[in-house]
Assembly symmetry: C3
Homo-oligomer: 138 residues x 3
Amino acid sequence: MVKSYSISLKTKGNADAIDITDDVSELIKACGLRSGIATLFSPSSTSALTTIEFEPGCLNDFRRLFDEIIDPNRPYEHNKHWDDGNGHSHIRASLEKPFLTIPFIDQTLTLGTWQQVIFIDFDIRPRQRQVILQIIGE
Amino acid sequence: MVKSYSISLKTKGNADAIDITDDVSELIKACGLRSGIATLFSPSSTSALTTIEFEPGCLNDFRRLFDEIIDPNRPYEHNKHWDDGNGHSHIRASLEKPFLTIPFIDQTLTLGTWQQVIFIDFDIRPRQRQVILQIIGE
Amino acid sequence: MVKSYSISLKTKGNADAIDITDDVSELIKACGLRSGIATLFSPSSTSALTTIEFEPGCLNDFRRLFDEIIDPNRPYEHNKHWDDGNGHSHIRASLEKPFLTIPFIDQTLTLGTWQQVIFIDFDIRPRQRQVILQIIGE
């Protein structure tokens, strides 16, 4: 059995991280399946999905990593071609990847207590985003 | 058809990597499904799953990467809030991600010859861990 | 319902990136399933899968990231043991990971307009590769 959903998000860009744990949990409870896997996918080349303890310190530490290893304040070849200034956003997204799969059992995601699901928008401006949630189970 | 299992692990922390290939392979053979996908998920915000050639050189080289790009010996905002000293563990886990999906065909994981499945514990102390294995197939 | 395929690739090595979007899309259209998830897996410890805007600038920027954080021109312990010179290839693959799961709906991958699927070969010589495509759906 396959159930398809879409989660709408408004982001601020620049590594804005949004906690979508409750959105996913509610769709898992509503979808009518008891156990299986939930795959989240962002149809975008400048955003990503992962898990993190959603508190301001961790989020800032995570952003610092990307500022250091994929620094926005240096030249990117992508920007020479397109002049849209988001070359670093693409590379961050390709490293972090735009998908996440989480098992669920008895209609409950198997997340840890301090583990939340985040969508992170690496683009350089506010965006309206759609995340796909594909649920497979029984 | 969905089959749910849990793999128990004792880790040493500090990027201790445990080869769980045999555990997963045995559950795939025992689960009664012929082909499908196996999703491993760590319900934790300080650990991750990936594949590697499981030999001491590769493991040390992999740990060096994390020591360099997410250095434990510098300040993390997470540590200011919680004072638990594992700010770098969280960031490493969010970069590497806590899940892995591997296809299986004829009850056999489609791993390469030199490719093993590892659980890597980035936390700073020994931990008892549970990895979820959700198998979907026919 | 599970459908298993294999995609054959000839690569140049050294972070050669191959756009396999069309291969995957065609197999999704041909497999007979309407909706579900497509899991790509590389049975190798020196290659990976991700998504990127497939244009030369992004690809060069992505390669520069790996050249910087996992520099081929420095010692790796793996090379001391095996003397095959691809220690950095293993670490790049373990960081980037050898799999990707993409939902499909109405026989169409849910990719963004500027988002292509790439296989990236981090090994240091041309290789013949097989990527597994496992499709699960209804």
